[in-house]
Amino acid sequence: MAGISADLRTQIHAVLASPLDRSALLRQMSALAEHDAFRTHADLWAPALFQRAAPFFEPFLLRYLDARQEATIRALLPQAEAAGHDTLFNGLYQKIAREDAWNAELLVLARSHQTDEQVLRAIQRREMERSWFTMTEVVALTLYRRNPALFAAFIRRHIRHRWGQRSQGFEHLLQAIQQQGDDELYWALFRQLAGSDEWKRSIRQVLRARTPASAILEEVRRRHAEHIWDADTSVLIDVLERYGIVVIPYIEEHLGWIAQRGSAERLLSVVSRLGDEALYWRFYCKTRDWVQWNGTLRELLKRPISDSELALALEIRTPPSGWRWQWWRLESDVALSFYRRNPDLFRPMLERFATREPDLTLFHEAEQRGDEELLDTLSFRLMEAMQGLIYSAYPPPSTQRWRKPHNESQQRLAEYGALLTRRFDRLYARSPQIYLRHAASIMSRFQAFRVWSFQKNLAYNPAFRYLFWQHRAAWRQSSEGMRDLLESPNIYVQILGLEILAEGATDAAPRVIENLPLLRALLLGRAKLSTKRKALGCLQQAALQGNPFASQILPVLEEALHFQGKRAIDERLMVAFVRLRKQLAAEQNAS
């Protein structure tokens, strides 16, 4: 090991001594930097590169010098500072700075006899991006007293909240700032440093001072402490009670925080008195859970109002889209009540909230009504649920020592499977086109990467198996159906399309031509090699069906042939391309 390191040192030495221009030197040094031990020779290369052209080698120096080369960095820092290489100085300085030493250095500068501008430049060179570094009060106060206007911005950037730290620790600084009348800095530091008691006291003062309504929003905002999470926020509800709608923008911005610790009830009650129903329900959705929401909807359903009035009332009670509400769902009885009331009017609501858990009651009701659109959504949800059941019903062999196959899951799988395959048979019996339309609609809902295990689904999911194996000839007859499969963002659905096309002959060729842009995209994209081979197989098969097909396929193969990379199937493509060209040439010669 020592030998390798010595050898590396010799190589570094040789490269540094050679008459290379700096670009070539950088390339050589970058190559040497690949060795693990390179950094340990920083004492050799860092000063040399610095002397050669510090600005040019700055990125390299910053990349390969770290805290382990503190001695080298410490030797470079004065040179960089003297030469005015500020960004290099700052980058290196940050690598070795420690908070106490940094504060001490700033204090020395703050007390130095240099001009204020020189001090500012020097402390700016020591600008610290590490968020856990904070300036002590004595440093801040010394700088501030020296020149409040000049150093205010630096102080503001470097006094940071620290857990357990209280603003009392900075009371002299805050007093000095207040005396100076620098409100902006004062409140900026207050927001950083205030604890929950100080914040609450400050808001109470605003209430006591009878602040005019036109100024209240600004007053509460400027006092908003940025680092308190568990405060008693009832004081803000007092503000809301007194000032009403004018403080709503602030309350809404911080609703999650304000509605904590049991304040939600009182907050909603105050908001309801404001008389803005939309606002009330917006707050309601943000402060309540889905079980409470279902209770509200049950109450709503009992009201003797028309469907359109109900729709209007429901709209205002519906949470917007967003991650916060992604697990909200309608309970079975509520979903059924809405469905029975008016299936068409409430469909979007049901599709959004009623289908997040398999709901067989709703499924049977939709079947009775022949509501195939809703059944597509419910079928898809059932299939998604089945994917989850497969793992408990048939645990992988590697986990069977501690996980037994779950009988109930197996039964549910069989039940859901039978329900869905019965529906598919029923649809096919009506007409193949109807079956294809709904099967495609279900398959279309699989987002990219949603099928967790293709093979397991094929083995244990009866509905998936049905969709995969059944009625393939009908698929090939359907232009729309094939497009739906191939245009799916889910690769497994696309593979199903390719499998179906590959099986066909004359009936598949028109479908291949209709989907040429997509097949070309598959060949050129990041699909796996096996998928690309399948796509190529489909193209070859279609080309054999006659020259009208072959002549359209040839340019696609030619373009794909030039794609290079680990995911290129250039050899197979070349063979296919040559064959196809021969086929076309032979045909032309014959004619």
């Binding site: 390339r27 690949e34 960004t87 709209e315 889209s321 659109e373 279309s444 995209a521 050129l524 030039h562």
Partner: protein, 508 residues
Amino acid sequence: MEVALAYDHRTSLVAGSERAALHLAANLRRAPVSFQGRVKEPLLFRQLLTALHRCIVSDMRFEDEGRWLWMLDPVITVHHDQLFFEAFSNDQSSYARLSAPLDAFEIEGEVSYGTTNIDFTWELREALQHLRSSRRTEFRVGAGGFGVSTTGAGAPRAHFERKVDLPESWLKGFLQVQSALALHPFLFEARPADMLSVLAYMQDHKPPTLPHGLRYELQPDAPISIILEPWEQRFTLRGTQYTGYARRVRVWGRRRLELLSGVLPYADRVTVGVLGRGLPHFYICHVGRYQFVLVLSGWTKNDWSKDSAFDLLAPRAPQDVQLVTRVYLYLREHLAAPQAEIAANLGQPAKEIEQALFQLCRAGRAMVDPTTGQYRLRELFAEPLDIEALFPADPRLTTAQTLFEHGKVTLQQIISPDQAPGGRKELRAHAMVHDQMDYQVTVALDVTERLRFARCGCPFFEQNLMARGPCAHILATRLAVEASMDTTPGNSVGPGALAGAPDVSQEN
């Protein structure tokens, strides 16, 4: 800068088994813009909107600062012949523009022209995947009352507002990167498979060392090549034939080419544009009727945005505010026009019109299609920006002026453009500038007097090269060259007189 956005509903995509309806909510705080039509090629439309979405949310910064802040909602511009979507990435590096001719739609109802923001939600990307070419796909842009809601009861519809406090750097980055298209890039056509091979190589190989650049190798009478550093992997672009003088243009930001990975497989061809070393480079993917433009600044937290770097490169013409206003009014009346047409109709020299158009582009009030040279009216914001405040005069210009006026610039050689076919169509000059110490400076001005290439020995240039625009010495040399051309036209010397001088064509 604070921008107010207000929508009366969220953008929605409702997809059934037979039809899909994409309704983009438009900003109520701007003049109403509306469009409604059936999309003729939903698959391509889906792929391109998805790519636009990818660009908006892309953030390749290594640090976390502001990573998840959503900047300005993208803007849509409806013109009499085209529809444009534009967005700038969160990390201030990539600008994307999707243009769709109106014949990509079967238009239904009335169209209101103009520009507005659209609510482009986080969830939209997933929803877009439901678009299929087998289904009738309706596309609508507009505020409330525009058509009848198809969402029915229970769908998320609510008025909402938000104010976006745009960081100055982001705003300047957006304005500068999109205006890069107006800087007369060198354009050539490439095949999608070749560009995808470049992408695939980067995806399959982790770069072992610095540098991580991408070089365009332009050799006379040879196809154009792309070289990936540090592997020095060469990709020859089929069908290209370069006829100019030898150049090597090194650009950065190549990782962001991945934003095109969903577009290139569907593209018929790609127009590549390069401006020069370290400058923005762009890719226009021609996808059926659509065009998808991606401009890569080459930098995260765009260094260009710190200064007025493009102003320093652009042709220097006297600032004529009245002319800028006249050009603006012309565009407002006609919506779109090529530069020559504007110059002819306003009776002004092309150079001044070009400068005025560049000012409008940089102010976010116009945009250009570099392939056709067509300028279009496009107001990025409801109110005009205070450009003087946003882009104050660069102190380097003042320094340059002082150096020039105090006779610190000594021109050593000026070489006129080579008139031979394939020759250098640029004026080159070598000078010595004395600023505390002597610096050897080289500048090259193209036929539009844009600073195309420069080199200086000063620390500013050493550190930044051209990444933050030219240094004061380069600008002082340029002033000297311009003065010399104005006063002593016979001063220039012929091509070939620079034997032994550094080869300025090697732009790396």
